[in-house]
Symmetry: D3
Subunit: 233 residues, 6 copies
């Protein structure tokens, strides 16, 4: 099966991190392709950035669909353009924020999210509520580190670890969701240090898209997720 993991921003560096993370866990039958979108924004930090990114995401999904891609992962924790991408794909499309929240709900009674910037909190909260997964979430926190900084500087790990401890204690949470693709690399060390599941949505989304494809399950094309109509005014 061909799976496409799309980083909806313009960062080739981020795409490389995602590629490493994906290849570590992909299935033996999976041909994994990791893309970034050079014409998109440098990073997604807010709703306007999200609109830009979604605009560039859709043609990439359309091209993937035409080239026989079986399933897609949108690798931004905001789940940028998720519903729109589903209209263009016949296979499953999962966002990493979505996947992480679902996984946290299966592994703990209560989880918290730690994302990068405070201004993204409301977007994550809105998605969480649409999925119904706010029921199990204690709170969404921000480390207040810009997305691109996260990618570059390994020193941020210590801050995330300290925050993670504080969050689990204050929120009475039992699982931590990393709320930014750029934090993926630290999921396992954080988990070992904190003694609680630390979820990287990138890896969960990849395995779950593989799962759904292997079961012959894809996006419903019954009505709402059909391809957009061609219209002439």
């Amino acid at each position: 099966m061909k799976i496409q993991l799309i980083n909806p921003n313009a960062s080739a560096g981020m795409a490389q991190l995602l590629d490493k993370a994906g290849r570590r866990v992909k299935g033996p039958d999976t041909e994994l392709e990791v893309l970034h979108l050079p014409a998109s924004v440098a990073s997604i930090e807010g709703a306007a950035d999200g609109v830009q990114a979604a605009f560039h995401l859709l043609p990439a999904v359309a091209r993937g669909q035409a080239a026989g891609v079986d399933g897609f992962i949108i690798a931004c924790f905001d789940d940028t353009g998720l519903d729109a991408a589903r209209e263009l794909a016949s296979g499953p499309v999962i966002g990493i924020g979505e996947a992480a929240m679902h996984a946290a709900s299966m592994l703990s009674v209560r989880y918290s999210i730690l994302t990068s910037l405070p201004r993204s909190i409301h977007i994550i909260e809105r998605n969480m509520s649409a999925y119904g997964l706010d029921r199990r979430c204690a709170r969404v926190h921000a480390a207040d580190i810009p997305v691109l900084e996260l990618e570059r500087d390994p020193a941020h790990y210590q801050r995330l670890l300290a925050l993670g401890r504080e969050i689990l204690q204050n929120d009475r949470s039992e699982c931590l969701v990393l709320g930014c693709a750029g934090m993926s690399q630290w999921a396992r060390p954080l988990q070992d240090a904190l003694g609680a599941p630390v979820i990287d949505g990138v890896q969960v989304a990849l395995k779950w898209v593989e799962s759904l494809v292997s079961l012959g399950l894809g996006t419903s094309k019954l009505l709402s997720y059909r391809a957009p109509l061609q219209k002439h005014p």
Copy 2:
């Protein structure tokens, strides 16, 4: 005050209808400008169309903001690009779907929405839930008439009237919200015929943006609705 009413699709015909509706009700001190977006999609019927439209909407809002526009109305019932547009404006930005739902909540104990296409229902429901205004909404219905058809053919009025009657009765609703800018023109005749408030979000949004501007109230720029950052990878 300068108010901009933006039709986020490419239909000049729709923009004309909106302009007529706006001029009928605008305040004496309001300089009203009605735009459509020629590079956008012909009509918005789904999430992918919405991404396209939002992409073209944002520069229009940015230009308006630079030109001193005091407030904006997004004239698509899906409230396309609403949060993103708020990042670019200092004045208020209101979507016509949002405005109509708020108004319905002040005028009735229970309301129903009648939109154009069934595939848009989930988008409207998701917005309504984000606003909390699903509490007072019985149900969202679709007339199953494409948006561009609505604009062109006055014969659709009879169908809307018949549907409106059925909906108010079956849903036990006491107010009908027209869920598509293209239905604006029929709000008043429908209201007279049905004997219950029929809300056109275009006119409500315009008056409410004027109101907020006149009170010196605008979009909060404290954090989440700040302009996007300039970033360099």
Copy 3:
């Protein structure tokens, strides 16, 4: 159009403050009448006070309706007697609490309310929940200053400013709603000082009632808001 702004308590001083606030923002075509209810309670601080006030409010609304008043504002943040007043009016009736919460939802991702007395918090929370607008509200706070004290002593401004700062920070809110008509006068200075929208429901309600009247929209008389029946046992 004739608009009536009713202070449902007995304070002529409060009515004067409301009259000043109203005249500053009313539309050129609006004939504004501001009333207080001398037979009502001195101030509304709890549900029993609310019952008293509502009892005196209804005849005032009925008289206004008979005299051709086009729209009403109930100027108590508890939205005292709101549903009952709607039964007596054909035009719109909006409560200042309701209006403020709706406005805050259009201008920010998250807002907080600052009211006068702690004992009123549960009433406001109950209304907010009925409107669905609790979705966007972080928390309701009380300054712990009796309503009549607020009216009299300008020194309370400093306390409100300090509380406002604390609230926006601790709640991660981006808009502050003033939860008592007696705080109206300070909305603009607080907004300038805090750098975030500060909403006075009195002015928003007035403009929105004017708006709805100008659009020919009024309270639905289909069923639930019909005038009470005359009954003989």
Copy 4:
């Protein structure tokens, strides 16, 4: 213990029915007093009626409190003036709507409500939501029989039985709540005929007030339900 069951409307006939119902089930140590309020409305059919009734209810509760009444039942399914009455009482105050909904939640997985007039539905729904008991309620129905008619004409029983059957089947409900004090008398025959619990809130409320009084539990006077303050402008 002295328990007061207050019919908040002016119907002496209704008070007699309530008195019969109460005496059938009251505890041996209970001194039961049933009142109606001659100055109140003839029947409560809407929010404006509710304001009238609440206004006359409060002095009755105050007199009862002064006379050492240990607990109160408000015998209108709308739970008229409930929060206000709690401010005046030190013992428990329960509304019959409230009691019936709580009981239904303990006896079934899903229940429906059958009230008298359609225009009361929104009031009941709003209360139910405030209590959180809408979770277990399938739907609120109205028999469309005016309250005073119910009292007078025993022929209405057949209609209620037919409606009850229909409701249990269509709603998939397993318990029926009678949504009007005037239906009390038919609770047991309906239960026998329908083969499912049929709840009369009057009797449940009475037994539960007795229960709470016997346990030394009363309305919290910590803050929100304190007696209203005396205020002088």
Copy 5:
């Protein structure tokens, strides 16, 4: 009437405390039987313990039903096996957690729960949400004292009192629910000391089961709470 109060754990000591509490408040016509389940777990501290306890609870309920018991109380704040027990009984079955939450909702605008172990919090929260009674609950706290310790050591009272004070203040709650049958004995002294209702679900559940039985109300046997079918593979 015969009422059975079942302690679903193996503690005879707990059963004695429950028996004392029950006899203090039971009605004159009530024949009260208090059981513990020697084959069950020593105490219920988590979901696996709950499964064990429920397994042993059901035959006890079945035996009681066969012996003509009119109503049952499950005396574990987790409401262990509640829905299952209802399938085996024709009379009412109430859990002490359930009863306490319902009572708190009738006596205060906001309540908090204080249970024994932190690990039980999620179980209580889940129940509360199923009942809809989370609406009125500020927060669930744990004293972090094992259930069996509570039974044995009266010194824990001081800790509960200190916690109770803190909770009412920080949560802005006006009623405290004791979240463990082992705390029953301290309900009245805590209430006197805190000046707010302190609810022991054991006593409330007992009185309410007596109430429902006296009104001829029992568990609905229409469908979901029918006895399990006999099946042969």
Copy 6:
């Protein structure tokens, strides 16, 4: 990895069906073991059956944990004993109901559930609500075919197909979840016939447990899902 798929009832026939379904989709590195519980109930049709089944489930999970099983699936759509099983396992434990609902939320805007018996509906609804996944679910239906009948008689397929068509249309749903392990075998033919995703929770749960295990993610043992304590009265 060793994965255990446990049928919590006594049906060896059901276990065989599950085994076939599992082997069709399991990963190459997965050693799959499918169990039934001979001492359990013949089938789970209600809460009392669920208590029985959970009681027998837990030792099976404990034995699996001791034998190094990496992850568990509970193959009853009621998710019998889910939280309890999690206390005994270090790896992930997923219920098939849970898995199916999560998958449906990722593939459609709205889904419906078709289970076997009407009496199970409330159990599924309660779980769905606890997961927050009721947000996306239109309705839960029952085919009214006993679980064991489903296993035996292939003729039931036609009935399920007809019901599926009706459900998708009436509910406006775009995905169907099969609400009983006994329906697993028909997922693919139903999907082909209905033209919408038809989800069998057995296969989804298996792939997702494999996924989580492969990512080193397991049940949080921080607090609430810890193994039960050993206690001595």
